[in-house]
Amino acid sequence: MSILPIVQTVQVKAAPARAFELFAGRMGEWWPRGKTVGQNPHVEIVIEPRADGRWFERDADGNETQWGKVLAWEPPSRLLLGWQLNTQWRYDADFVTEVELSFAPADGGGTLVTLEHRNLERFGTDAAERRKSLDGGWPTMLGAFTRYARE
């Protein structure tokens, strides 16, 4: 079973370089509160500005919770992130789905930001050996899903 990628666009007034900077450099300031992974509220979400950099949140006590990694760091036009939160809504170094952001100049000086979250079928094959034969599916999304269900 293959799953269509999630594709979304949003237009902002800032120029691409600034939009990229705000998106990647100050994620902790704009990411919706309570929609993070750590035990405690985040005070910062860090995307290390280089390929292979880490992507993680940090709480007030300095505890870090990993989200994934930077696959490509190409300001001002492109950012490719590896989303490594598995079915348990936990970081898994062996699991990765791609989230690609592109920042294109829009009419009037703004930026068209396009997000594509792909490889969603991989959520069906992380973690358990018993699911090795799975040709896609959503069991690995369930942790996240139910986490929100409880809220």
């Binding site: 079973m1 799953i3 269509l4 999630i6 979304q8 949003v10 237009q11 902002v12 007034k13 800032a14 600034r18 939009a19 705000l22 998106f23 100050r26 300031e29 704009w30 990411w31 919706p32 929609k35 930001v113 997000l115 979250h117 969603l120 069906g124 358990a128 018993r130 699911r131 034969s133 799975l134 599916g137 959503w138 069991p139 999304m141 369930l142 996240a144 899903f145 139910t146 929100y148 269900a149 409880r150």
Partner: protein
């Protein structure tokens, strides 16, 4: 609204760990109840009960093959889950737009 209620029913159905485990088994491979119950620390009637809840939540569907009922993932449930992730990104991007546009307004000389 239809999506909302489908997603909410799915959330509720998967809140129970045993039921979630059964759903994962169905997701891994379509199977009859006996096979799904094998190795689980709950009785077969209990598994049937959980399957009924999953079915009502639109996550699992059953088909008759000969005399056996085979349970498999209901694509409508999978769509609801993808929609859920989609909604998370929509809310994140909306928050980003608010933040970025506010930043731009502040940067503008009066």
């Amino acid at each position: 609204m239809a999506y909302e209620s489908t997603a909410r029913a799915s959330f509720a159905a998967l809140g129970d760990p045993t039921r979630r485990g059964i759903f994962e088994r169905v997701a891994a491979r379509p199977a009859p109840v006996g096979e799904l119950a094998r190795g689980l620390p709950v009785s077969r009637p209990a598994v049937s009960q959980h399957l009924r809840v999953l079915k009502e939540a639109g996550l699992v569907t059953e088909t008759l093959e000969g005399t056996r009922r085979i349970y498999r993932i209901d694509p409508r449930g999978i769509t609801a889950m993808r929609d859920w992730l989609d909604a998370q990104w929509a809310s994140a991007l909306a928050a980003f737009k608010d933040f970025a546009d506010q930043d731009t307004e502040q940067e503008k000389p009066e």
